[in-house]
Amino acid sequence: MPQEQDRITSQTGPEEESQGLGRVDADVTGQMDDLDAVLDDIESTLETNAEEYVNRFVQKGGE
């Protein structure tokens, strides 16, 4: 299997025709530091009334 360019990142640049079939790296140890940043993002946007958020989501069953 020929080595393919690593295109599996969070980049948003233009893709080549093969639509990003680069190597999907299973190692995320480098991303543990970013988890704090993610939590900050989430906390700044999540609505404060959790009960209302949850209880407002009621559907009937699907197929």
């Binding site: 299997m1 599996i8 639509q19 299973a26 190692d27 480098g30 993610v38 989430i42 009937k60």
Partner: protein
């Protein structure tokens, strides 16, 4: 992707009963996703039906129906129980199906934001529409993400049940979307809501695999396998892996049917798939012991990990046996096997966190646990909210943030999603349907279509059947329809 045309059986053009694709591994993939909807930030509650109808106003005004098809060949409609639903156009490659599924998220998000603008006029400036790509609401109503695979009809239903379901029951180890519950974290959304293994009914029971014969293809040669047991995935890699691994398993089942002998999956048939998937769902270590069917020789039970290892080993053998054609049978096959193996190994040694880059339940669990460490007195409602926010494709910030910070991997970037919103796959009949819809919309024509048929309905009816999902070649009838649209 024209490669598969070369595999046409010799003489097939002379003998219409001897079809192309009877003996190869080409497949049509489709994903149908039922979305959940809600509105928060309003003084008066707004029920799901109201939100969904508001989202679908532009669809109704254009199509005079809550059911329509799009220029990318997809079907967009409002389902039973007020679920906006998106069914992807036919794809021959799991990556194309993924791109179309991501296009569906974008289409839904746009409808949601337009509906939000409308609702803010009547329900206040804080009205916020949520569109959940998930499988359970707050009251335990469940709904689906259904995969469709075209399989060769030569494989009997009971063989599919016996040989595929153990794989589907244990697949959540890497395809599960996870769910926060009062009794702990489950790795699937749906396990508590599925009981029967295979059923022909779809509304009363909750079958895992549905094989009603509406193949939207030649019914003599194909059947449409409708898999209901899967979770809705946010991770693009998980969606790709879900389709790709299932495809490999179906290839093995089909090939074994042709060649005969003992099935590689004979030792996996489960005594009770419904109980098994519940056990799998509650055990992120993969060590839950699943009872095997009485007629399985020697073994009484197997762990979920062992079942998956059997399927993985068979897939590795299959890809090795077909090494020259592997990239045609499944583009990216080597990478699929690598990811599959690494997932099972990580789970086996308790290192599930290393899968947070692509396994939805691992990503969700990791961030929920991190939030709990940050706020040790976090309430259950807040955890449920975080779970739902993970699935909100309209106003959810969890997945975008995980992607932005490189925590969750993508395979299709924004430009690729835009292309998939605008264009169908070019190597299936979706290309014909999509081009028809695009032209009909530009012409302001009156039209209708479904999976196997397109029609201009006024001033005269001009129509054409599209019976072969593998065929993107315009016929004379199709050309007549397109010409009439000019």
């Amino acid at each position: 992707m024209p490669q598969l045309r070369q595999e046409r059986v010799a003489g097939a053009e002379d003998d219409p009963s001897h079809g192309a694709h009877d003996h190869d591994f080409s497949r049509i993939f489709g994903i149908e996703t039922e979305y959940g909807v809600s509105v928060t930030g309003t003084a008066r509650p707004c029920d799901a039906g109201q939100v969904a109808m508001t989202m679908f106003r532009p669809v109704i005004s254009r199509a005079r129906s809550t059911n329509t098809y799009l220029a990318n060949g997809a079907r967009l409609y409002l389902d039973v129980g007020s679920h906006p639903e998106y069914a992807t156009a036919e794809a021959r490659d799991p990556m194309d199906a993924l791109a179309q599924d991501a296009a569906g998220e974008r289409v839904m998000a746009r409808l949601a934001m337009d509906a939000q603008r409308t609702l803010r006029e009547t329900h206040g400036p804080d009205a916020t529409v949520h569109v959940f790509k998930n499988n359970v609401d707050s009251e335990g109503h469940s709904f689906g993400c259904h995969e469709n695979y075209l399989v060769r009809r030569a494989v009997p239903l009971d063989v599919i049940e016996r040989e595929l379901i153990p794989f589907l029951v244990t697949r959540p180890l890497f395809s599960g979307a996870g769910r926060v519950t009062r009794d702990g974290f489950q790795i699937t959304q749906r396990a508590d809501f599925l009981d029967d293994a295979v059923s022909s009914a779809t509304t009363r029971s909750r079958p895992m695999v549905n094989t009603r014969d509406e193949p939207h293809a030649d019914a003599e040669r194909f059947r449409r396998l409708h898999v209901i047991v899967g979770d809705s995935n946010r991770s693009q890699v998980a969606t790709w892996m879900k389709l790709a691994t299932t495809h490999l398993v179906l290839c093995i089942i089909e090939e074994h049917r042709r060649t005969g002998g003992m099935s590689p999956f004979a030792g996996c048939a489960l005594a009770d798939p419904g109980a098994a998937i519940k056990a799998v769902s509650r055990d992120p270590s993969g060590r839950a012991r699943l009872a095997l069917a009485d007629d399985v020789p020697v073994c009484r039970d197997r762990t979920a990990l062992d079942v998956q290892r059997i399927y993985l080993a068979a897939a590795q053998r299959f890809v090795a046996d077909h090494a020259a054609a592997a990239e045609t049978i499944l583009p990216g096959a080597a990478q699929v096997l690598e990811l599959w193996e690494s997932a099972l190994e990580a789970i086996a040694c308790g290192d599930w966190m290393s899968l947070a880059g692509w396994v939805d339940w691992a990503a969700k669990r990791r961030f929920v646990e991190a939030m709990t460490r940050r706020h040790p007195d976090i309430g259950f409602a807040r955890l449920e909210q975080l779970d739902l926010a993970y699935h909100d494709i309209a106003n959810g910030n969890v997945v975008p943030s995980l992607e932005r910070h490189g925590s969750l991997r993508r395979l299709i970037d924004d430009a690729g999603v835009t292309r998939a919103v605008d264009e169908p796959p070019q190597d299936t009949r979706a290309a014909l349907r999509g081009a028809f819809v695009a032209r009909a919309l530009r012409a302001g024509a009156q039209w209708s279509c479904d999976w196997t048929h397109v029609a201009l309905t006024a001033p005269h009816r001009v129509e054409c059947e599209l019976l072969d999902p593998f065929d993107a070649t315009p016929t004379d009838d199709y050309r007549n329809v397109m010409a009439a649209l000019d």
